[in-house]
Amino acid sequence: MAFDPSADYPIGTERPDLVQTPGGLALDELTLDALRSGRLDASEMRATAQTLELQAQVALAAGRLQLAANLERAAELTDVPDEVVLEIYTALRPHRSTAEELESWAERLENDFGAAKTAAFVREAGAVYAKRSLIHADDPAV
């Protein structure tokens, strides 16, 4: 049955068939019994990119364009390792990166993780940082 973003929320209760863990476990398999028998791992207990895309569709259907865009970027980031996520966050803080460094993060997001929307977001930051003296070279303390 096709996903109806206007009617199938909460997905966990309305359309559990569409939700899986990264390792392919169904939602109803995530139980205490499964934990007891060693079938659950902490790394499994997170939303996949597909699930976040469904959530983005729900947000969009409710007229929440920006929340949807955020969830789409989130979907892209599911496959980006924690350390890399934190590095990119740091790189986006004021006066941390040169324009080239931000561009190379954008390329990496695009090429290594297929994260085109997040890459565009980082590129946009780079352009504004250059105008607003927020790139590394502009740090008055440096």
């Binding site: 995530l30 934990l35 902490a42 699930t51 955020n70 970027r73 599911t78 986006l92 504004v128 105008k131």
Partner: protein
């Protein structure tokens, strides 16, 4: 001024006067709304690109303008929305026939300056009405703060459990020492899920650590993403709109609910308000938060509340902030967490702006523990205020998101949670939580009641949580192994929620049945009386019945098996002797009822009155008036048959009058309405005065004590006693003469 008014001097000593109120200083951003430097609202779009925004051309945009211009405006609706004049938009906000949906649609096309200007046209009641209409989720909820100065895990777990059992939908903790964070977060996870499955939890710490705890499944939401309305303050906060926006996506990618934080006054406090008003800068923050795709915000001055309230219209500005956030379709956790004022009156008055309309979270942190242990800077409302809050909900029939809980229920859930975290600590070989700590955590006032822990050992354990990647699932596994199956099940359910990501939608909380309730599936569709969220049915039953509420029927004293105080003799005659003073009793006096509201036995009261009349040299005569329960008529009827024409009238509750037959019934010689403060000595003096009036002596009024709170304290009992007096009336029956039974076994069964 050489001589001070003592009234002015007295007022200066009140708590309120510790606070500084200032005249607006717009250049420093110390102005609530409509600052002289706020830009003219304006928007120009060329070929789908914003080239002019609120007084600035694209070339002059700062980073915030760029971000809002790129992400924050719905250009399809902007032309239509910006063309409406301010007054028309303001009218639509309070027009019950204009739907939330329509207002949200228009709001997407309005610039920050425009948004601020429109809401500033509303008065407080209009703002409250608009906020009620615009809240995203149908039902309001509340968030709790749980911390303690010793960072004791058993106490954290117990407090979190109590918060959850009281119905808080979210619980936030923080740390004194940042390395404690993993343990504190774990304690409130275990505690919250013991109290009520489904409560979301967070630990307010530095972003990297916060994200790490979330990744390990120990926390489920974050609201530490602060944003500011001017670029210099943003940069001083070591962030940009893009870094915060990226972080929001990062949290969501790990299944963490996120809300941004902003609030009026922060830019002024941090020295870069750019001469703009608090409301305009907050409008920029909110436009930015929505542009970044945050599902919601914590706003309404937040930690700067006292600064905003130092300027004229401060409370109104704060309410306007909350309203703007709701208009922008954001979840609103509406402040009321930091101490707004020293004055409880002023705190409550400010609160009403959010409490009466209801917001997604009426407070963004209600201190479940006493203020002493609140590490978020005090707590505007804390454990000591719980009965006040519950009573206000009951008074207004308004749902403020906190449920009554009996002492025994509370103790039970606290103990269970403290035991659960004790078990978890033992299972991971963390420093032991002793039985003594469990007991102290269960019954404590605050952390001073708990033994000190080895803090070095605790932080070493906290480090292990991160180093070994101990997860929410690991915690659940250990709880399950040690007979805390229901808590383990609740924690696994929270992990399952992370997998489905449903609580990432706007205003999501997890309801009592484990289902996510959000603006998507449980939207606020208020459209006039009888629609939207009403506190009624089962929920109203639950909130109105407070543990200390009394069943009115139990307030009545019983008169079973008490010896008679008076016996009736015959219909009362009209006296002839000039020294004849009648003591006229109400229909239930010394019969159905036996004590006054002040707890005096009727027998003793009668003896005092009789002795007093005799002191004056007059002769007392006891009579029961059966046809009236009002003290004036009891007294007047008595006077009509007294040989002296003077009588004392007394009701069962103890209210007394000295009357004279020639006066109008509602007039009197002396009236003693303050029954609770009358003593046997007072009654004797009343008797003496009545005798004095009868014998035409010079009489000074009986001194009485004023207790201005007696009415508030006793009006319910007064009403119930008077109802019994009235029930004892025999219509049209003449007064009867009585005889006082000899003193034996006079009882004081007073309940007052």
């Amino acid at each position: 001024m050489t001589q001070r008014s003592r009234r002015f001097a007295e007022r200066e000593r009140r708590e309120l006067r510790r606070e500084v109120l200032i005249t607006p200083q717009p250049d420093l951003g110390l102005v609530a709304m409509n600052g002289p430097n706020d830009p003219q609202p304006g928007l120009k779009v060329e070929q789908g690109r914003v080239v002019w925004l609120d007084g600035r051309s694209e070339a002059e945009f700062d980073a915030i303008d760029h971000f809002i211009a790129s992400h924050g405006l719905d250009l399809d609706v902007a032309t239509e929305a910006m063309a409406l004049d301010d007054a028309e938009l303001a009218r639509r906000l309070v027009d019950v026939n204009v739907s939330r949906e329509e207002l949200v649609r228009l709001g997407r096309g309005l610039t920050p300056a425009r948004l601020a200007r429109v809401v500033s046209l509303l008065d407080p009641v209009e703002m409250m009405f608009a906020l009620k209409k615009l809240r995203a989720r149908r039902a309001p909820a509340n968030q709790a703060h749980v911390t303690n100065l010793k960072e004791n895990p058993a106490l954290l777990a117990a407090d979190a459990a109590e918060a959850a059992a009281r119905g808080f939908a979210e619980i936030e903790t923080t740390v004194g020492v940042s390395r404690y964070a993993p343990l504190n977060a774990m304690a409130i996870l275990v505690g919250s899920q013991t109290g009520r499955p489904g409560v979301l939890t967070q630990c307010a710490i530095e972003e990297r650590r916060s994200l790490q705890l979330a990744i390990q499944g120990i926390t489920t939401y974050a609201e530490t993403l602060s944003v500011y309305g001017t670029e210099p303050v943003f940069v001083d906060g070591d962030d940009t709109p893009w870094s915060k926006g990226f972080l929001a996506s990062a949290y969501a990618s790990r299944g963490i609910k996120v809300r941004f934080t902003s609030g009026g006054g922060s830019e002024a406090l941090m020295g870069h308000a750019g001469g703009c008003s608090m409301l305009y800068l907050e409008a920029r923050c909110l436009a930015l938060a929505r542009a970044a795709g945050s599902q919601g915000v914590q706003n309404g001055a937040i930690s700067c509340v006292a600064l905003v309230m130092s300027v004229p219209a401060g409370s109104r500005e704060i309410l306007a902030e909350n309203l703007l956030a709701a208009w922008l379709d954001l979840e609103v956790a509406s402040g009321n967490d930091a101490i707004a004022s020293h004055s409880p009156t002023r705190r409550a008055a400010k609160l009403m702006g959010q409490f009466l309309p209801g917001t997604d979270f009426v407070t963004s942190g209600w201190s479940v523990m006493p203020r002493y242990d609140n590490m978020f800077g005090g707590g505007n409302y804390d454990a000591d205020d719980i009965d006040e809050w519950l009573t206000m909900q009951r008074d207004w029939q308004v749902d403020g998101g906190i449920e009554p809980l009996s002492e025994s229920q509370t103790v039970r859930v606290r103990e269970r949670a403290a035991r659960a975290i004790q078990t978890v600590f033992a299972a991971f070989d963390f420093p032991a939580i002793t039985d003594e700590e469990v007991e102290a955590a269960t019954y404590a006032l605050d952390s001073r009641d708990l033994p000190d822990r080895d803090r070095a050992a605790d932080v070493a354990a906290a480090d292990r949580v991160l180093a070994e990647g101990i997860s929410g699932l690991d915690v659940a596994r250990e709880l399950d192994r040690h007979a805390f199956t229901e808590v383990a099940e609740a924690i696994v359910s929270m992990q399952r929620q992370r997998v489905s990501g449903d609580y990432l939608q706007t205003s999501a909380i997890i309801g009592p049945t484990g289902t996510v309730e959000a603006a998507v599936n449980d939207p606020n569709r208020y459209s006039g009386p009888g629609t939207g969220y009403r506190l009624d049915g089962e929920r109203w039953e639950r909130l109105q019945h407070l543990p200390h509420e009394l069943d009115a029927s139990t307030l009545d004293e019983t008169t079973d098996a008490q010896p008679a105080v008076v016996v009736e003799k015959h219909v009362a005659m009209i006296g002839n002797d000039p020294d004849d003073v009648v003591i006229a009793l109400g229909p239930a006096f010394a019969g159905e009822l036996r004590t006054t509201i002040g707890g005096l036995a009727h027998h003793d009261v009668l003896e005092a009155l009789i002795a007093g009349v005799r002191d004056a040299g007059a002769v007392p005569r006891l009579v029961r008036v059966r046809r009236a329960s009002d003290v004036a008529f009891i007294g007047h009827d008595g006077a009509a048959i007294a040989g002296s024409r003077v009588a004392i009238g007394i009701q069962s509750k103890g209210t007394t009058v000295i009357h004279r037959a020639d006066l109008q019934p509602l007039d009197n010689l002396e009236l003693f309405g303050m029954a609770p403060s009358l003593t046997l000595e007072s009654y004797r003096a009343i008797g003496r005065n009545a005798g004095g009036y009868a014998l035409k002596q010079r009489v000074g009024p009986v001194p009485t004590v004023m207790d201005n709170f007696a009415r508030a304290k006793l009006i319910v009992r007064t009403t119930l006693l008077h109802a019994r007096e009235t029930a004892a009336i025999t219509q049209g029956a003449p007064a009867v003469e009585l005889e006082l039974v000899a003193s034996e076994g006079t009882s004081r069964t007073a309940r007052v």
